[in-house]
Structures are given as structure tokens and as C-alpha cells.
Amino acid sequence: MNNMIINKISKVLKKSIEKEKKQSLKIENLLDAVKYAQDIIDTVREPFLVLNDSLHVVTANPAFYSMFKVVKKDTEGTLVYELGDRQWDIPKLRKLLEDVLPKKKIFNDFEVTHDFQSIGEKTMLLNARRIDHSPLILLAIEDITMQKQYADLKESNEKRFRALIEKSADAIALVNLAGKVSYASPSTKSVIGYTPKEFQKQTNPFDLVPPDERETVTQLFEKLLKKPGSSEHVVYRIEHKNGSLVWIESVMTNLINDPNVKAIVINYRDVSVRKELETQKDNFIGIASHELKTPVTIIKAYTQILQKRFEKLGDEAANQSLAKMNAQINKLNTLIGDLLDITKIETGEIVFNKVMFDFDSLLKETLEDVQLTSDKHDIKLRGVVNKQVYADRERIGLILVNLLTNAIKYSPKSKDIIVQSSIDKSNVVVGVQDFGIGIPRESFHAVFDRFFRVKTPKGDTFPGLGLGLYISAEIIKRHKGKMWIISQVGKGSTFYFSIPINGKQKTKILKKDGRNKK
């Protein structure tokens, strides 16, 4: 009997123990889960609050404490709005917690910007949710102040650069690989009369270039397409919407490989006024130098008449003076000639009188002529070309005179000047070497520029307009030849030019082709 009771009791006990065991397991599991959740909250780098139904803080994570500079003691159990001297009493937060949350249970990514006493202005993204079957609210606070500042900066930068482009007086067009205008800035209208939209409708940005110039510009553009990163500067005309032709100066840059652009950038402006002034200037110099030639001709003529008379009278002194005067008149005439030449080169009006001539005799003649002007120098001729050359004999002669007089001018303290002629493939090459002051390497590219003048180490310049080499190089260029320099400061310079022996050949072939086609 007792046994039965004991058995029963032990069964009940067993059951209750098992039940308790199960319960304690449940509690253990529950505790584990809470710890797990707490671990997550503690680990997350975002500030995090757990609030109860009455919006008092149950717990906060270390990230919260560190970001908002508050301590656990003042936080847990405090009404959220009263945290850190009521810093959290933010109207928008109140609205969210009190109005939105009870109805919707959840809100995501509400952006709040608030000026905190302790940490300054912060922009935050708030995410909150009510936990199911529990009076708890999770509130996650993401500090996006930096991102926001960065985005604002990016936006204002973008706005700034856009404004720079859009407000720029220069028009800017982006052209893609297919040759279509993908962007045209508002200034398009002020420069060529078309609105950006109208301009973008053009099948090709160069459709507006007059036919006779179009090929040159298109060729240049195609050359540019092949060289990412390179740029070309070109001046051409464009037909304005009002029908007039405007001069355009444009810089095209290939930014196809730039991931931010992926286009050819054409930056252009109307330079018609400048062009007009240049034309006026060229015309003026042309007319002025032409007008100067008349008095020079008259002075020279009378000088020579007088010279002849004194010669007959046997007045050698007067004759000598007049000969010197005549030499100066010739110098003046050369300067005027340079001014005229430069005008013709700039306006493309220069005409060549190409003939077949013996190159060696031109060299010999010119050398002898120049030798007469200086007894301090000894001009030596080396090499024989032994060829008939087809070129403008007179102008090639003038180039030689120019190189030789330069050699004399810039080597006042040395005696020798060497002229070397040779054949290189189908070209004649001439080098004029002096042992004078020389030209620094960094000036090599500039010597053939207009108005370039050599400076002595003391900074003095030599007399002259600085046009001779420019004109020479331009004439050589138009003979399809080349001009270059090798020089060393203090050691002297050698100026070279080369021109095709038979400048005629090319035209001949073309003519023949033309006939064959017919």
C-alpha cells in the first residue's frame, strides 16, 4: 500500500521534475535567445535603442553611447525625449513614434537632421519597428551625416561645373564615336544661332561648315578620333542659322577613353571679329608696304642717277657715299619685302615661280654675293648636288641669303661659315653652319616662329624684325620641304633645309592619272 503511494508520489514528482526540467530548458533557451539578440545589438556598429511601450529606454547598444556621448546610467529607464538634456525631443521623431508607429508598426528610412548640443548637426536615417506580441520597440539610428555632406558636395560640384559649362560664352559640344552630337551647351545658340536641340538634330556637327572647308575639318576630326587623349586646334567657318558665315575657333579633345565623358569634346567660339581685324591688319601691312616701295624706288633711282654723275665727274668720295646710301636702301627694301611676304603667307596669296635650275650654281652665286658683304667671315662651300632642281629659284636664293646673313650676324667673333649640300633620297639638303653664339635647345621650336629673335646671354637682341626664318620656313613648307636646326649655346648653330629635287613630279603624276581615268 505504502509502496503504491510512494510510487504514485514518485511518479508525480518525476513528472513535475521533468516538467520543471523542460521549463528550465525553455528558460535557458529563452535566455540564450535574449543573449543572442543582445550580442547582435552590441556588435552592430549602428546606434540602437530598445524602447518600451511608454517610450522609455529599455536598453541601448555601445554604438549609441559612443555616438551620442551619453552613459548607460542616464539612459536606461529614461524617456527617449529626455535623453541627454532633452536633446532627443525632436518633433519629427515624436510624430513617428507616437503617430506612425502605433498604426503601421514599422517605419523605414526616415531622414532627420538635428542639431545636437554635444555632437553638432547630424543627419540620421531612423528605422523602427514594434516587436510582435511584445511591448518593445526597436529604434535603429543610422548616421548619414558624412554621406549627406558628400552627396551635397557632389551635387553642388556637379551644379557648379554644369553652370560653368552652361553659362560659358564658349559653346561646348560632345560628339560620340558615330559622329553624332550627344550634348550641346546653351551657348550653341549665341555662337551659331541654333538651339542645342536643333544642333543635335544635325546628322554631323560639320554639316554647317562650307563644302570647300568641310573636308579639311573632317579629316582633322578623323585624325583625332584615332588618338584618344589628343587634341586639335582649328579655325574654320560655319554657316550661322541666319545664313552668314562666322569664323569658329575650336579645340577638339578626344576623351573617348575617359569613362566620365566617352566623347569628343568640341569647345568653340565665334572669332569673326578677331578674324576681321586680322584681315584688316594684313591688308594694312600689305598696302602700307606696297606704298613704301614707291618712295624707296624713287630714292633709289635718284641715288643711282647721282652716283653715275659723280662717277663721270670723278668724285670718288661722293660716289662712295652714294653707294653706301644705295646699300641701305636695299636693306630697307628687304624689310619691306619681308612685311609683304608675311602678309602674303598669312593670306595664302603667295605665288611661286617654279623653274628648273642648277642647284650648285645657285649655291655658288649666292655664296659669292653674301661673301662680298663681309670681309670678317670666310664662307666655305662643301659638297656637290649635281642636280637640276624644280623650285622657286629666286626665293630659295633669298632663303640662302637669309641663312648666310644670320650666320654672319650671330657669329661676330668667329670666322668660318660652312655651307654643306648633299642629296638625301629625293631631296636636296643644305646646312648652313656658324660657330657663333648658338641657340638654347628650348628655343629650337620657336626659331621658326614669327618675330622670334635670338637673345645674347646678357639679354640683348640683334637688329631685325624676326621674320626671316619664319618666312623661310613657310616658303620651304610650301615646297613640301623641311627646315630644322641643330645648335649649342656658345658653339654655334647649323640651320638645315631640304626640298624635293623634282617638285614637279607630283603634279605630273596627278595629271597623268586624270587622263587615264578619262
Binding site: 606696297h290 624707296v296 624706288t297 624713287i298 633709289k300 633711282a301 643711282q304 642717277i305 615661280n353
Partner: protein
């Protein structure tokens, strides 16, 4: 008999100097700053014509071409005179016999005069 040279040049200074040079060598000079003088060429029939390329609006090239196309005048040597460096090309195109670039050398002018009036 002195050789006759006609000079058509619109600048009086150049005209005077040229005339002095040529007369000094014994030539008979018929000179004018007026291109209209060319009309007298049929009566005078000079041994040489010195012709300025630009004479106040009259193109010397046209005059030269015209003279070279007429039976009476085509044998008269024409020397074109100009300050233009391209005088040579222009003279050739117009069918002139020679050219003289301004400013010219006196000896050059006299040598030409002698050559073409021989």
C-alpha cells in the same frame, strides 16, 4: 637715230627718274602717268614699252595682252614694271617679254633697254 622708249608709269617720281636714266643714255623717251598714252602707241610705234602693271585702275596685263594680239604692235617688246614680287609670274602670264621689279637697279634698266632695242 635715237631709239624710242615709251614709259607708262603712274607715279610721277618714278617716271621722272626712269626718263632721266634713259635719256642720259641717249634714248628718246615718251612718258606719261596716264594710261591713255598707250593709245598713241599706234602712231609712235616705239622700240620698247615699259609698262606699269597697275596704273590707277588700269590693269597692265590687259594692255599687254591686247598689244601682243595685234598685228601692228605685237613685235614691240613689253617690259612689265611692278613693286610686286610676283611681277615675274604676272609678266609671263600676260605675254610680256620681260619684267623689272621695283625698286630696280639702274644698270638693270639700262641693260634691258639695250637688249630689247638692239
Amino acid at each position: 637715230m635715237a631709239k624710242k622708249i615709251m614709259v607708262a608709269e603712274d607715279d610721277p617720281g618714278i617716271l621722272d627718274a626712269m626718263s632721266q636714266m634713259l635719256e642720259g643714255e641717249g634714248y628718246e623717251v615718251v612718258a606719261s602717268v596716264d594710261a591713255g598714252i598707250i593709245e598713241k602707241i599706234y602712231d609712235i610705234l616705239p622700240d620698247l614699252l615699259l609698262l606699269d602693271i597697275w596704273m590707277s585702275g588700269v590693269d597692265g596685263r590687259d594692255i599687254c595682252r591686247k598689244l601682243k594680239n595685234q598685228e601692228v604692235t605685237k613685235h614691240i617688246p613689253v617690259i612689265m614694271v611692278s613693286a610686286n614680287k610676283d611681277t615675274k609670274v604676272i609678266a609671263k602670264e600676260a605675254g610680256a617679254d620681260d619684267y623689272l621689279a621695283k625698286p630696280f637697279e639702274m644698270d638693270e634698266l639700262l641693260a634691258m633697254a639695250e637688249k630689247y632695242t638692239r
